[in-house]
Amino acid sequence: MVLKVENINVYYGAIHAVKDVSFHVDEGEIVTLIGANGAGKSTILKTISGLLRSRGGSIAFMGKNISSAPTNVIVRDGLIQAPEGRAVFLQMTVEENLEMGAFTRPKSGNHARMERVFALFPRLKERRRQPAGTLSGGEQQMLAMGRALMSEPRLFMMDEPSMGLAPILVDQIFEIIGDLNRLGGTILLVEQNARMALSIAARGYVLETGRIIKSAPAADLLEDDDVKKAYLGG
């Protein structure tokens, strides 16, 4: 088991944003958390990355308890996140962004890692010396994913990779996520686009106002009447 989250509770001041959430991710799986805006999906990822803390409960990554570890240690251990809204460094070049992704890795391997990222995203290679701020939304999403891959993660968490992208780009991004998984990548995917997420995931969890209300193989969730009604547009 790569990631095991047990009974985490996260608060923003008095607001109880994540309630007794437990789930796990196995080696080589794509697991997705789906749910409406504000259901607590991003909060869960931030808590796993150590930006927020859970009151009680535990988070284990590769068998090690990381619930109180600092973010830089979590990243070094191989758990990376491509955050919501991409959050690439707009004033830095594509190459520099990628270097930042490999911050916890020895510099000597950067060239080889970068070539692997460029093989997945040839557009980034063309634009390697441009500031990230000059890239289109789709290219920035590719950069955010490439940057995360630079750390050679054992678990890759993606927060809303489809956000704000045109449908054709969404298809492209999900194709790449599928490819990464076929290459052996373990992925925890948070999405509002439930149909796309469930179509590539092995298992899914449905989140509603901070609580997991359903968990099942993704194929079953796609056929589930409640899920259909609430998240798949009838």
Binding site: S49, L51, P70, T71, N72, I74, V75, R76, I80, Q81, P83, A87, V88, F89, L90, Q91, M92, E96, E99, M100, G101, F103, T104, K107, R147, S151
Partner: protein, 291 residues
């Protein structure tokens, strides 16, 4: 010919402002706070330099290095105890704290080193070289050279090294930087260390050019350097450099051609005009608030 001399002296004075302004702007860039105690670090640096030479007979170059180390440590300590606990606090609270730290440093200096001004011995001697009939002091030349060297070092550091790039990443987006595994706290401490070490160098140069040293020595140059940082565009390293040098030139020209008494008023008037025309400063970015 005197015009050129004034210009050179202006660049030199401006160079000192620029070195101080770099500290303001780097700290602002990463911690998004105005460290009003920065000016008083200059004073501490100058005192360390003074006592290293006067009490221990340490050679000036070593004295400056020592002052830089002491101030770097002081900067890190101030950040850790005064500013770090306020990382999530309102910016007004941080601002007031910074002013408090400024008074703390001045009064600590008053207790430790008394109020009587000390005569600072120039770190490069008082001689001058004659070039094409112009007499240019060693201090002027040293200041300009130091300024160029510092600018080159900072450009290489932020553009080429891993830590320097991490610093830029933190300045842009602390959450994202931290998700890349960059230790944001260490990076902020490093920024305070560099800024404060530069302030120490500026203190030694300043007191070599204007040799009276007292516990309030740092406050006026501190405010002017802050002005220079805003003038050039706060948060921008080249902006701080440009703002500092321009401010120095304006000040010397105002003194030479208009009025010595009014020179500071003219300097600040120019700032007001620039900010009216270009609110983000000369090289600053216009910040578009996302809604």
């Amino acid at each position: 010919m005197t015009f050129i001399l004034y210009l050179i002296n202006g660049v030199s004075l401006g160079g000192i402002y620029a070195i101080i302004a770099l500290g303001y702007t780097m700290v602002y860039g990463i911690a998004k706070m105005l460290n009003f105690a920065h000016g008083d670090i200059i004073m501490v640096g100058a005192y360390v330099c003074f006592f290293a030479a006067a009490s221990f007979g340490i050679p000036p170059v070593i004295g400056v290095l020592l002052a830089a180390c002491v101030c770097a440590a002081l900067g890190v300590i101030i950040e850790a105890f005064a500013y770090k606990p306020l990382r999530q606090a309102a910016s007004l609270a941080v601002l007031i704290t910074a002013i408090g730290v400024s008074y703390l440093l001045q009064n600590a200096a008053l207790l430790l080193w008394k109020s009587n001004p000390r005569v600072f011995t120039s770190i490069v001697g008082t001689g001058a070289v004659r070039i094409w009939g112009l007499s240019i002091t060693y201090v002027t030349i040293t200041t300009i050279l130091a300024c160029i060297a510092i600018m080159i070092c900072l450009t290489v550091f932020t553009g080429k090294t891993k830590m320097g790039k991490a610093m830029r990443a933190c300045a842009e987006d602390k959450n994202a930087a931290s998700l890349m595994g960059i230790n944001v706290n260490v990076t902020i401490s490093l920024t305070f260390a560099i800024g404060s070490a530069l302030a120490a160098v500026a203190g030694a140069l300043l007191c070599s050019a204007y040799p009276t040293l007292s516990p309030t020595t740092g406050s006026m140059p501190g405010i002017k350097a802050f002005t220079a940082a805003v003038f050039g565009g706060i948060g921008s390293v080249p902006g701080a450099m440009l703002g500092g040098v321009l401010l120095g030139i304006i000040e010397i020209f105002a003194k030479a051609y208009i009025s010595t008494q009014l020179s500071d008023a003219i300097v600040f008037a120019v700032l007001i005009v620039v900010l009216l025309v270009k609110p983000a400063g000369l090289l600053g970015r216009q910040v578009h608030e996302k809604v």
